[in-house]
């Protein structure tokens, strides 16, 4: 029997009304849990109620694991009552993009191809979160195999943007972005091969960090491109991203790409500000091709003024390596995606959505020589950006060139070519975060900060300084 005292909110005039926890941070709900003002079971039920009420329209979840969640929450309550504290995620409801393997729970990658796959083992990230005491609410919608796009020939409906259900939430971690922005969970996991954490973070008005290549194990994450895949956290705030990243970082000898580099404390320096830091702006990147939209340009200039006002020095840096990263990311990435899916494309390609099938088949026509060219260019681009990062502490850019499109947006007669702001961090493997950096037409705009390898702490610190000086992260969708 629990020896915890009766929660205060149950005894006052608002008896049986739980504190409104929907948009609280992980730190805040953790404090409520430890002050006995709410239990993990109550918190979990509150999330499950919201999912029941809102997700029939939002479609952020593919599968809700309510029984498991309540069981894990009960365990967390028992442990916390007994003085066993597993850390900041203990008892906190989170959700996983449906490409993180979950033992005994179907993991589909939002594809008919994997519709019946029930993994025997957890992914490394899933296991880390279980060990941290997090409560798994369920598996989240995504773009098929982290690469396709919304379409009618998929086994589950696409997640929608909670700011406006007619608009996309971005991808491929679409459900992660949508669920967090709607307040359905307190943290989520995404994967990022060309921007799939940071894009939905930007479009949904939340934060998401793609760590350094090798920082977080990819064991048990359905691959898209071995050279560029990263797993990472998404949350409503920078500190929450830091707490989630702390729980999943570290060397995994069972992942060949995992780096054996010490993991620092990601929250200890968060409040140290940007005074004295040099931030690089690849100016020509903003106007590459058709450039960014005027509202994104305006939001970005305002963000730069904020960072300058906080004491950062803004420095223009060369753009070519950033601009050409997209080509390297796609050339290598598509070849590797085809390699992984080759046997399925030979024998069962009707099970892919048409869009994804066409995309993956492109990889069959990229020659070995061009793949090697792409890899060599990747090395050269990484070297160039690393060189730029010896002159500045981080690179700052918009996360996306536009706000989220409508689902029914038609392809323009003349192709529009926008800068791909997220690709360089995948090509280099360097860490990058997106934080809310503006609003236009009722839709969020993201600010991206990219840093040197294994300097997630500095990236988070810059992001936190910006977040603390702006109110974008405090805005929530009218859902």
């Amino acid at each position: 029997m629990s020896n915890r005292r009766r929660p205060r909110w149950r005894t006052g005039p608002r008896a049986n009304v739980a504190p409104d926890t929907r948009f609280l941070s992980i730190r805040e709900v953790g404090a409520l849990l430890r002050k006995n003002e709410i239990t993990s079971q109550e918190l979990t039920r509150s999330c499950l109620d919201l999912v029941s009420r809102l997700d029939p329209e939002l479609h952020s979840f593919i599968r809700v694991t309510a029984d498991l969640a309540l069981e894990q929450a009960a365990t967390a309550d028992r442990e916390l009552a007994a003085g066993i504290d597993r850390g900041p995620l203990h008892g906190v409801p989170i959700a996983l993009k449906d490409l993180f393997a979950t033992r005994g729970i179907p993991t589909t990658a939002h594809s008919n191809v994997l519709l019946n796959w029930v993994p025997d083992e957890d992914s490394a990230v899933t296991a880390d979160l279980r060990n941290a005491g997090a409560v798994l609410l369920g598996k989240l919608a995504m773009h098929e195999f982290a690469a396709g796009k919304p379409g009618p020939d998929l086994p589950f409906p696409p997640a929608r943007n909670p700011w406006n259900l007619e608009h996309i939430p971005g991808g491929s971690s679409s459900g992660s972005g949508a669920a967090l922005a709607a307040g359905l969970c307190f943290g989520a996991m995404g994967s990022d091969t060309g921007g799939s954490i940071r894009g939905p973070a930007a479009f949904c008005g939340i934060a998401g960090i793609k760590p350094t290549f090798g920082r977080v194990s990819r064991r048990g994450v359905v691959p898209l491109s071995w050279s560029f895949d990263h797993a990472g956290p998404m949350a409503r705030g920078v500190e929450d991203c830091a707490l989630l990243l702390q729980a999943i970082s570290g060397h995994d000898p069972l992942d060949a790409a995992s780096a054996n580099v010490p993991v620092p404390d990601y929250t200890s320096g968060l409040e140290n500000g940007v005074d004295g830091l040099r931030l690089g702006i690849p100016r020509d990147w903003l106007t590459f091709g058709d450039g960014v939209t005027p509202e994104v340009a305006s939001a970005f200039e305002t963000a730069l003024a904020t960072l300058k006002g906080l004491g950062a020095t803004l420095v223009d840096v060369p753009s070519p390596a950033f601009i050409d990263s997209e080509a390297a990311n796609l050339l290598v990435g598509l070849t590797e995606a085809f390699s992984y899916h080759r046997e399925t494309l030979r024998s069962r390609r009707g099970e892919f959505s048409k869009n994804l099938k066409d995309q993956f088949l492109e990889g069959a026509f990229i020659s070995g020589a061009d793949y090697v060219l792409g890899q060599r260019a990747t090395v050269a681009i990484r070297k160039e950006i690393a060189s730029i990062l010896t002159t500045v502490d981080a690179i700052v850019s918009p996360t996306a060139a536009t706000v989220a499109d409508r689902f029914d947006a038609e392809d323009p007669a003349t192709p529009v070519r926008r800068p791909g702001f997220t690709n360089p961090a995948n090509v280099t493997g360097f860490p990058a975060i997106s934080v809310p950096g503006g609003m236009a037409s009722g839709l969020p705009i993201g600010l991206q900060i990219m840093g040197r390898p294994f300097e997630e702490a500095l990236v988070l610190r810059i992001a936190k300084a910006f977040e603390s000086s702006t109110s974008w992260h405090t805005m929530h969708p009218p859902l």
């Binding site: 796609l330 080759r342 492109e362 020659s367 061009d370």
Partner: protein, 66 residues
Amino acid sequence: MPGDEALTIETMRDLAQQAGLALTDEELRDVMPGVARNRARAKLLEKWVTQDVEPATAALANGSEG
């Protein structure tokens, strides 16, 4: 060398067969724009690949045996 051929349905069919794929003409046509884009990407990236450290490069480029 694969990748250097003119992009026709016939060459794409050959390349698909080399990859063990029996694609219909419709499937090949659907993929063709993406294949062209990837070839353009490879061309774009050539400038990042310097051959300076490879001593035989000049001879190969000149067609001589040095």
